[in-house]
């Protein structure tokens, strides 16, 4: 009788742990599944959406540099040197017709994430 109780107890404990694990996994998955980007250009589009959500008062005429300045004022813990490099590369691509010098949109997605949107990098084809 005692061994049946013990088996039941272990079974319940295992089921409980599994349930919690699934729950935690679910939460992480939900957080990460909000946005995906296959390129830096796409990541900037997601960042734009995140910016508009975070700063509804931001005028339609904002530029990336103005937006970055505003985020910087929030003082988030981000690698600004790296972000500056990504932005410079993106500007050269967007306005100068150059190849994208950075192909990893990770920093931009992290920034979008800081602004309250879930984001994760999905490597493009």
């Amino acid at each position: 009788m005692a061994s049946v109780d013990q088996t039941l107890l272990y079974g319940l404990l295992f089921a409980n742990a599994a349930l919690y694990a699934l729950l935690i996994l679910g939460i992480f998955k939900k957080r990460g599944s909000g946005l995906e980007a296959s390129s830096v250009a796409e990541a900037f589009l997601l960042l734009e959406a995140a910016l508009k959500k975070k700063f509804p008062d931001m005028p339609a005429g904002f530029t990336w540099r103005e937006a970055m300045g505003r985020i910087r004022d929030m003082n988030p813990r981000l690698d600004w040197k790296s972000l500056e490099g990504v932005l410079k590369g993106y500007e050269a691509y967007r306005y100068g017709g150059f190849e994208l010098s950075y192909t990893d949109p990770g920093e931009v997605l992290r920034l979008a994430s800081v602004l309250g949107k879930g984001a994760r990098f999905v490597r493009g084809p």
Partner: protein
Amino acid sequence: MEKVPGLSEDLKEKVLGEIRKVVIGREREATLLLICLFAKGHVLLEGVPGTSKTLLANAFSKCLGLQFKRVQFTPDMLPLDIVGGFIFNMKEREFEFKRGPTFTNILLADEINRTSPKVQSALLESMQELQVTVEGHTEKLPSPFMVIATQNPLEFEGVYPLPEGQLDRFMVRIQFDYPDVEVESKILKRNLTEIDLGGVREVMTPEELGEVYKEVASVKVSDEILDYLAKIAQETRTDGGISLGASPRAMVQLVHCARAHAVLVGRNFVTPDDIKHLAQSVLTHRLRVERSALLKGGSPNPQAILTSILDRVKPPR
């Protein structure tokens, strides 16, 4: 990404360094002068007397290594005092053209709005077509040719407002505000000894300027940026608060300025930030506020109206 050679950035530092020897706290204004020089435009310096407009123009001209002339505009001047005219040569017994002070590289037109519209208009052809025509005789001006004009605010006594056509020929208007306490204190300290413009060295050669012109001409402007500019122009023409919007010439000059600015910061393409950075200096002196809009509570300030336009026109992102 292609990086432009550092010549312009280097020249900027040298020029600003020389100007700082005599003018304090006018880096922004000096940089705009440089942008205008690199963009082959003319500048209007506006501010109350005693805010170092003429001193800055003098120091700027001194470090360029270009021919420089100064004309103090007065109400009794005649057009020939500026562009020149035909005088009778007794020896040769014929009329010959005597060149006026316009025939130079940098012309400092001091207090331009103290002279009559007739004399102001005499500069129009020089500024736009870089030539002078007197009685059917046309002469090309030296290259480069840049007018740096100063003017007092229109509320002052004895001034003739520049007509719209004349204002439109100035690529940039630089407004000189009073310095803040910290800068004013430095100015006072600096003026305890006599200011010596002789200490300002020539730090740019005409050849270097020619190289910068080539750099500026090679700066890329994407079609999307051009569309962005066209939308801004349209907004200035349809905004209810403005009766006279930006002319096509104004927008062309804004592009040139943006290219020069890009070169100064080491880029060879124009971004929307270049446009927004320079729009106020290039456009506001050409905008006329609609008076009827003022009665309805509209802004009397073209700067504020332009800010609102720039806020609502979406740049390429």
